[in-house]
């Protein structure tokens, strides 16, 4: 085997692996990505029940109903639209009324969002960026938490 042939085999294997990977990536990107919407987006452009997406907004004050079975009910709002959410499981520690939240799941035929995961915040000053941006785009004034980056001089 010449040096050229050997190199050819190596390049061939490399290209084959890359093509397989590219195929997998394209396939997975079509099926495994999840879009992000706010409640008022849903009012403008309804989404079919059963389709997975991420819902972002603020947890409406006074809307959290805990303690009735293992399910937790709350309402996600962007002050323009509201979507009721049902989540089964234990909420992240920093889940709070009036704070930003991102839930992932799908709509039920009745229009309730069935969340299977609720995104936790890592930092008490943290507002999920897409929530902050989406809310800003809708002209919602953000709370104190969003304006004070962690570590900035108070």
């Amino acid at each position: 085997m010449t040096r050229k042939q050997r190199r050819g085999i190596l390049i061939g294997v490399g290209v084959a692996v890359l093509m397989i990977a590219a195929g997998l990536v394209l396939f997975a990107l079509r099926d495994a990505i999840v879009f992000f919407h706010t409640p008022s987006d849903l009012a403008e452009k309804p989404i079919a029940a059963g389709q997975r997406f991420r819902l972002g907004g603020l947890v409406a004050a006074g809307s959290v109903k805990r303690g009735e079975g293992t399910k937790v009910d709350f309402v996600v709002t962007d002050t323009i639209g509201n979507i009721p959410v049902v989540y089964e499981g234990v909420l992240p520690d920093l889940f709070r009324e009036g704070q930003g939240v991102v839930a992932e799941g799908k709509l039920s035929p009745e229009g309730t969002f069935l969340a299977d995961s609720v995104l936790a915040k890592h930092d008490e000053n943290y507002m999920p960026p897409e929530v902050a941006k989406a809310l800003e785009a809708k002209g919602v004034k953000l709370g104190k938490g969003a304006e004070h980056p962690a570590g900035a001089t108070p």
Partner: protein, 659 residues
């Protein structure tokens, strides 16, 4: 006063680093020995100054000096000592100081232990290392200065986010950074070699121990983060394919590839051009990780709120070093002479396959992590790429890698005998098939691919044992001889086998816990029993308790198996005093076949509590596998041939440090 001293030391360190960046490189260019020699004392001096800066910040934290803005924002006087110390790097500014400290530590280590490096190479390495330090020290001083004072000082601080007050997390960032930043040495060596236009097997021999040390730390750092997420976040998950996790995982994948390609270069003088590129890419991925975490542009459980100006600064640093490195590579790579021919089926060939698969896997993670960002900036659509994407792309690429893994060490350099290797692996394959059939027969549930995944893990583990067994000729020589041979094996051979064994453990843990996890969510009243995975768990009730800086509600559960009590679990819900944040502490019973994991939920209006119970089979194998890899790296590092700066040490008289 101490704080000003630290601030001053940091500024001085910047000046020393500028000096170290310019003078030795100029010396290397003009071939002036005296100018090149100043790199060494400068690197040591820079380290000394950064130690002073870091210690003074630590003192401010330990003594709770609330005239310092950074301490106020992140600490509190009632916080336990360990967390007052870990609070130093538990925030943006302090963690960047740790970043440059570790950078200087690696640079100083090259200066101190690299006495036998060719002088021009060493001068260039130290200069490149210093240029990275200059960029990051400017970043700290201009955008994220931890030494700023407050006037008047408040009475007490804001405290550290309670979920960060945890022993595993206290040590997670230093290890992670030691890994990230450690790859800077590989980068500096690569750039220095490109500047020199000369590279040989000795280069790989110098680079490999540093890469290995960085890789070990990164392995342990990632494992600690995963372990922390597992027991602290209360979801029982250990990996979320979260962008910030991926940010640390990509350098790990590239670094693992680099370790293996540097091996080919060292032993066979081949793959030089590729190894240099990989060294540049690995550190570039580390920089990108820093950028992703520090810019706050990602939605992530880890995202820290930061000011966009900082993100732009880190982006500029990243572009400079990645772009600069790659441009230099494009210009000079052609000058690096290729050497070492090998057949496709050979040790080299298997390591090339390892590299192709690892870098491709790294690329799929890269696409999955950055695609949402790219799409949003192009179309405005906001999407997230979740675990299914990674299961579909990363998973299939790991299968051929893991299947080929046990063959690699059994093949000879240059030209290997794949049939001979297959014969030696017959026993390992048989064992894997037995485990696969056994898993199918016993469990008869879960995804159909899972038994295959477990079998692959077992194959890798058994393959590692086979490698050692065939090296010591177990079975063909008396047992005593085999034992003596084992002791006399090169440490790096033992390290290789052990690291591969760790990979197998990790695979078994990952597959079994992902496929066969059991979960129950229910409302329980005191006295009620829930059964899961053969355990009967009795809920005894809830009582309040007070900790050093928190109050908690503790639930008591007794777990029994076949009528005998095996464990007493106490999951709790805490409210910290400062900041007043709630956290959930899981109750975990580690068993050899898996963990029992209980989380206390909300109190119910009708009495009782919501409770989440999990059984995670073999989940500990994941972290044990990582620890085994770390130990394997340490064993390998202790090999005489690999020892940092070992070849021909102390040939030259040690120059007395100047200044």
């Amino acid at each position: 006063m101490v704080v000003e001293l630290g601030h001053f030391a940091l500024v001085l360190a910047l000046l020393v680093a500028i000096f170290q960046m310019v003078v030795p490189a100029y010396g290397a260019r003009t071939n002036d020995d005296r100018l090149m020699a100043v790199g060494e004392p400068a690197a040591l001096c820079q380290l000394g100054l950064l130690i002073v800066a870091f210690l003074s910040l630590t003192i401010a934290y330990v003594t709770s000096d609330f005239s310092v803005a950074n301490v106020v924002a992140n600490s509190h006087s009632t916080k336990p000592l360990l967390y007052r110390i870990s609070g130093v790097w538990g925030n943006h500014e302090g963690s960047m100081v740790l970043w440059v400290l570790i950078l200087a530590l690696f640079g100083a280590a090259v200066a101190a232990f690299g006495r036998n490096l060719p002088p021009t190479l060493k001068a260039n390495v130290l200069a490149v290392q210093a240029s990275i330090a200059v960029a990051f020290m400017l970043f700290i001083l201009l955008t994220s200065n931890p030494f700023l004072r407050l006037d008047p000082p408040p009475a007490d601080g804001n405290g550290l986010n309670p979920i960060l007050q945890d022993p595993a997390l206290a040590f997670h960032p230093p290890f992670l950074y030691a890994g990230y930043v450690g790859f800077s040495i590989a980068y500096s060596f690569a750039i220095a070699a490109l500047i020199d236009g000369r590279i040989d097997a000795a280069w790989a021999r110098w680079v490999r121990p540093w890469t290995l040390a960085a890789w070990m730390c990164l392995t342990l750092g990632i494992a600690m983060g995963s372990w922390w997420a597992y027991y602290e976040l209360g979801w029982g998950g250990w990996w979320f394919w979260d962008p910030v996790e991926n940010a640390s995982f990509m350098p790990w994948l590239a670094g693992t590839a680099l370790l293996h390609s540097a091996l080919v270069m060292e032993k066979r003088d081949a793959l030089k051009v590729w190894t240099v590129l990989l060294a540049i890419l690995t550190f570039s991925l580390s920089l990108m990780g820093t950028f992703l975490v520090r810019s706050g542009i990602l939605t992530s459980v880890h995202a820290f709120a930061v000011d966009p100006q900082r993100g732009v600064f880190v982006l500029a640093i990243m572009t400079l070093f990645t772009g600069g490195g790659l441009a230099l590579y494009a210009l000079r790579a052609r000058d690096l002479r290729q050497g070492g021919i090998f057949a496709p089926i050979s040790r080299e060939g298997s390591l090339v396959l390892n590299n192709i698969l690892l870098t491709t896997a790294c690329a799929t993670v890269f696409i999955g992590t950055l695609y949402p960002l790219a799409l949003e900036s192009l179309t405005g659509d906001k999407i997230s790429v979740g675990p299914p994407y990674f299961d579909w792309t990363f998973g299939p690429l790991m299968v051929p890698l893991l299947l080929a893994l046990p063959f690699g060490p059994l093949l000879a350099w240059k030209r290997g005998d794949v049939l001979g290797a297959a014969q030696r692996l017959a026993f390992a394959a048989l064992l894997a098939i037995i485990v696969m059939v056994g898993t199918l027969a016993v469990l008869q549930r879960g995804p159909w691919l899972a038994p295959f995944g477990i079998a692959i893990g077992v194959f890798v583990m058994a393959g590692a044992v086979t490698d050692l067994a065939s090296r010591v000729r177990l079975g063909s020589v008396p047992l005593g001889d085999a034992a003596r041979r084992l002791v006399n094996l090169p440490r790096s051979a033992i390290g290789t086998a052990l690291a591969h064994f760790g990979v197998g453990m990790l695979v078994v843990g990952v597959v079994s816990t992902s496929a066969y996890r059991e979960e129950k969510i229910l409302v329980m009243k005191p006295g009620e029993v829930v059964s899961i995975a053969g355990y009967d768990i009795t809920f005894r009730g809830v009582a309040p308790r007070t900790g050093p800086n928190y109050r908690e509600e503790v639930a008591v559960f007794d777990a029994a198996r076949g009528g005998t009590q095996v464990s007493h679990l106490e999951p709790s819900r805490r409210i910290y005093d400062m900041p007043p944040e709630p956290t959930t502490e899981a109750g975990i019973h580690p068993g050899w076949r898996g963990d029992l994991y209980v989380v206390l939920g909300d109190a119910q209006t009708a009495g009782g509590y919501a409770v989440r119970v999990y059984f995670n089979p073999f989940v500990r194998f994941i972290w044990l596998g990582a620890v085994v890899m770390f130990i394997a790296g340490a064993i390998s590092l202790s090999d005489r041939r690999l020892r940092v700066g070992a070849p021909g040490r102390a040939r030259r008289v040690v120059a007395a440090p100047a200044e």
